[in-house]
């Protein structure tokens, strides 16, 4: 805001001097505010907390039996075995028979953009008015009163989620990473310091939506429009870099190109909806051609066919455990997709894309784990938990802040009432930045959205 005001002043000054030619020296470049809707999230107060006796999955593949974890000042203070030193005066939680994991991270959600109730008036997830809409930002559609956030917290142990625009468009717009903490405004939920993402899509959806609306109508059309758009973005980037270096007349700003330039500058991460192996391979070449990096393929139903390529390129695959066949590009889905990608050494992620699925990503991981083991890939429970923790944190660019139980990281922690890879298990308590945001034992520590107040079932167990 302040920077913008200065920009206006500078322009006015130029106009004012029109009759009196300025010296040859060009005006200094004005910096564009890259964070005009800043996070106002703050951690809620927590108390010094110790959980003892639990089985701990640290989110990076490690397991500690009879473990101890200490939370204070919003951060993880210590994680270790039974002999871990514990500060005096801590609120003690008995973890015997229970499990402790990092909070679950869903890299693919539309909560708030396609909220409950699913009325057309609240359906704000796809700006399906043109195939290239990188100027739209998912956060500007997020309705914080979506009851789905509370279900994701209480049933799924979700502490962080990425809300993406839908996949109708080749360029769907910017995503936003949220802390799963209720707030009056979306700014109040924004994960501080998380980079933006760009939602891209290949395959059936863009051509289905735009095939009769001016195109693209084919996969080759999808790629052609995508390439042409990146060429424009490169040109925009050059123009702005020159201006930022040399000053002079400010080039016209283009919100769509701002987003794409952010990708080319490595500041915005690409989340590419793509199902088929052959299409992912084309998108990889396209990214090389245009000079950007694909952070993650989302849905990636055929990732198992190119797991080696994904490993080589360092691209994550965010996948379902068992969705398949609901459309042609999902026809070759197999239940071993997630474990096979993991086995190849690539970054495997369990994602939801669904307000119900986000409530049991732990069980989705369990299914994938079991199917992987049946196919001969023997990994530990704790190792499978990476698919819900450090791997999605990497894909969101926040692995230095959350996504595993390491000293100094955000105290985003779930205490489960049993092994979280069981269908019988649910969160017992959830802490976000060290504040207890859900407690199964205490109906007062359970969020109820404005929408649900005064409705049947208000405040019920869900």
């Amino acid at each position: 805001m302040i920077r913008g005001a200065i920009a206006s002043l500078a322009l006015l000054a130029l106009v004012g001097c029109a009759n009196n030619p300025p010296p040859k020296k060009k005006a200094a470049p004005v910096r564009i505010n890259e964070d005009p809707y800043p996070s106002t999230y703050h951690a809620y107060p927590g108390t010094l907390t110790v959980i003892r006796g639990a089985t701990i999955f640290d989110g990076e593949g490690g397991q500690i039996d009879n473990g101890t974890i200490v939370l204070a000042d919003g951060a993880i203070q210590a994680v270790g075995g039974a002999d871990t030193p514990v500060p005096a005066g801590a609120y003690e939680v008995d973890g015997h028979g229970k499990w402790v994991t990092p909070g679950v991270i869903d890299v693919h959600s539309h909560l708030g953009d396609y909220p409950s109730p699913g009325t057309s008036s609240l359906s704000d997830g796809n700006e399906a008015t043109g195939p290239v809409r990188p100027e739209v930002w998912a956060e500007h559609s997020v309705w914080p009163q979506d009851a789905g956030f509370s279900r994701a917290l209480a049933n799924g142990g979700i502490t962080t989620l990425q809300v993406l625009p839908g996949s109708a468009n080749l360029f769907g717009g910017r995503s936003v990473v949220l802390k799963n903490v209720p707030a009056r405004t979306v700014q109040g939920m924004k994960f501080p310091g998380a980079p933006y993402g760009l939602k891209m899509a290949c395959g059936e959806n863009p051509k289905r939506v735009y095939g009769q609306k001016g195109g693209p109508q084919t996969r080759m059309g999808n790629i052609a429009v995508t390439r042409a758009t990146w060429l424009k973005a490169q040109s925009y980037k050059r123009k702005w870099e020159k201006y930022e270096r040399d000053g002079g007349d400010m080039p016209e700003r283009d919100l769509a190109m701002d987003t794409l330039r952010g990708v080319l500058d490595g500041k915005i991460l690409v989340h590419n909806h793509c199902y088929r192996a052959d299409e992912m391979a084309i998108m990889i070449d396209l990214s090389h051609e245009m000079g950007y990096k694909i952070t993650a393929f989302h849905h990636a139903v055929e990732a198992y066919k190119i797991a080696d390529l994904l490993q080589k390129e360092g691209i994550c695959a965010a996948m379902w455990a068992d969705w398949w066949g609901f459309k042609m590009e999902a026809y070759d889905g197999i239940k071993e997709n997630i474990p096979f990608v993991d086995k190849a050494g690539a970054c495997a992620i369990v994602h939801s894309d669904d307000p119900n699925g986000i409530q049991h990503l732990n069980q989705e991981a369990a299914k994938a784990l079991a199917d992987g083991r049946r196919a001969g890939y023997n990994i530990t429970d704790a190792s499978a938990w990476r698919w819900l923790a450090i791997n999605p944190a990497k894909a969101l660019g926040i692995a230095d802040k959350t996504g595993s139980l390491k000293q100094g990281k955000m105290a985003d922690v779930v205490l489960w009432n049993g092994n979280p890879l069981s269908t019988y298990t649910r969160p017992d308590k959830v802490w976000i930045d060290g504040a207890m945001m859900y407690d199964a034992e205490n109906p007062r520590i359970r969020p109820v959205s404005d929408f649900e107040l005064g409705q049947p079932g208000e405040g019920d167990v869900k």
């Binding site: 109730p117 649910r426 049947p456």
Partner: protein, 472 residues
């Protein structure tokens, strides 16, 4: 697939083979009747039927012995509500702008008829393709039978549904025209022109038109009707061609003759009427239909808000097939949604079973056991209402069978039931457990699917002397 299907056909045709007994011994056996699992128990199948099951159940001398020690044995899962076999790919070629529009799926989906002239007369059976990959994938995960309903197309009446088996053969039908399916909630309002009130008037008018035709109904017990012209031989009481050409109708009819005729068995109570409603007030309206039309054999499908009127549903004796996993206010008819819905209805005495009344109905029936496990797990959530393990298993097996009157045939390991048996390598309500073996009508089933073949083709990505296309 085709080869194994043919193989299975041959086995079925060769009757003496199925006379052989199979004894599954030493497993943890759940009968599916609501009881808790029995350790170290045997299950005996003969002539395609269950002979019996239990601790130390006698094993016939000539039986093929299957060692199930360390395994779990259950009746096959009966998908309580589904569209199995109706769609290969739900969305393949065109869709009207945006999501959820009517679909032209290029012949791969037959679950809905938005543009056809008929409604209640539609019989889902000709649309069922037993070679759909959805059948094989669900069979490989222990689903052996399914209640299959058409989607409502141009009317509140979707048509007549069937109960099918998931066997690898070309004879899927267990019970044809078992029920009529009607929408009387939000979807009913949409199909009736915009309001629930209109849906209820349409419903009553349809039954009025059916009652006019009822007088002309051909007696089913009469076998003397020659097959000629429009008077075919009628043996099925739910046959929509039951009404001959001489039947007189009022001038103010809205239904086609076939549609009205199809509702005669509903009116007579010879065919179940599955009614989809979610909202509490809609459920109460359905309960009142019973007073107005005492012969209706009603089953409520959905009932997300059922727990709020559970005592009234229980008193009516009407069974409920519910989606276990509804806990969001996804619409204004599901505001009271909670995971505890099923348990609370069960505790109030409602006959509850589990189905998929949502987008998952074409292919994800294998996840019913996951949701049943979730219901059991609620026991550890303060304030929530769980169901027992035995009840949860029954809700996947005998309870949906009973809802459509087939509990004497399928859904449990009691003597005389069809030989639908699954061996699991662990607790079947845990998704970490997998299927070891499946029998349907006593026939051991192939567990190979398109998915397992793709898995095996790509499990090793090391380059070979020939491309992947040569691996199978």
């Amino acid at each position: 697939m085709i080869r194994s299907a043919l193989a299975a056909l041959l086995i079925t045709a060769a009757a003496p083979l199925s006379a052989q007994s199979v004894a599954i011994v030493g497993g943890t056996v759940a009968l599916g009747d609501g009881s808790e699992p029995i350790q170290n128990a045997n299950v005996v199948i003969r002539n395609g039927k269950i002979v019996g099951a239990g601790y130390n159940y006698p094993v016939p001398r000539d039986a093929e012995i299957i060692d199930a020690r360390g395994k779990w044995v259950t009746p096959g899962i009966v998908a309580g509500f589904s569209r199995l076999g109706l769609a290969e790919v739900d969305l393949s070629m065109h869709e009207e702008e945006g999501a959820g529009g009517s679909q032209d799926t290029a012949g791969s989906a037959d679950d809905s008829t938005p543009n056809g002239p008929f409604s209640a007369a539609i019989d889902v059976v000709p649309a069922i393709n037993p070679l759909n990959t959805t059948i094989a994938v669900n069979r490989a995960d222990g689903v052996t039978r399914a209640v299959v309903a058409p989607n409502a197309g141009r009317s509140i009446f979707a048509g007549q549904g069937a109960v099918i088996d998931l066997g690898a053969d070309m004879d899927p039908v267990t019970a044809r025209r078992r029920f009529q399916f009607v929408e009387l909630g939000q979807a009913g309002a949409e199909h009736a022109g915009g309001s629930r009130a209109s849906a209820h008037v349409l419903f009553r008018n349809a039954l009025r038109e059916a009652s006019e035709l009822q007088r002309y109904a051909v007696s089913v017990s009469s076998n003397a009707i020659p097959e000629q012209g429009e008077d075919p031989v009628i043996k099925d009481p739910n046959e929509s061609r039951l009404i001959g050409p001489n039947a007189k109708r009022s001038e103010d009819v809205m239904l086609t003759r076939f549609d009205a005729a199809a509702l005669v068995p509903v009116l007579q109570g010879k065919q179940y009427l599955l009614v989809h409603v979610e909202r509490a007030s809609d459920i109460l309206q359905v309960l009142r239909l019973k007073r107005e039309f005492p012969n209706l054999k009603l089953v409520i499908v959905g009932a997300t808000e059922g727990w709020t009127v559970a005592d009234k549903i229980a008193a009516s004796g009407i069974p409920v097939i519910a989606s276990a996993a509804n806990d969001l206010p996804a619409s204004f008819e599901q505001l009271a949604a909670t995971w505890s819905n099923v348990g609370r209805m069960r505790n109030a005495g409602v006959k509850v079973s589990i189905g998929m009344i949502d987008d998952n109905d074409t292919r994800y029936l294998f996840n019913e056991r996951q949701y049943a496990g979730n219901l059991v797990g609620l026991a550890r959530v303060p304030g929530a209402t769980a169901v027992s393990w035995g009840d949860a298993m029954a809700m996947l097996t005998s309870a949906p069978a009973a809802a459509v009157g087939l509990e004497g045939q399928i859904g449990s390991l009691k003597a005389g039931r069809r030989g639908d048996v699954v061996i699991w390598n662990g607790d079947p309500l845990e998704m970490t457990s997998n299927v070891d073996a499946v029998w349907i009508d006593g026939v051991k089933q192939p567990l190979e699917t398109r998915q397992t073949k793709l898995r095996d083709r790509y499990r090793d990505l090391t380059p070979n002397t020939l491309p992947e296309a040569y691996r199978r």
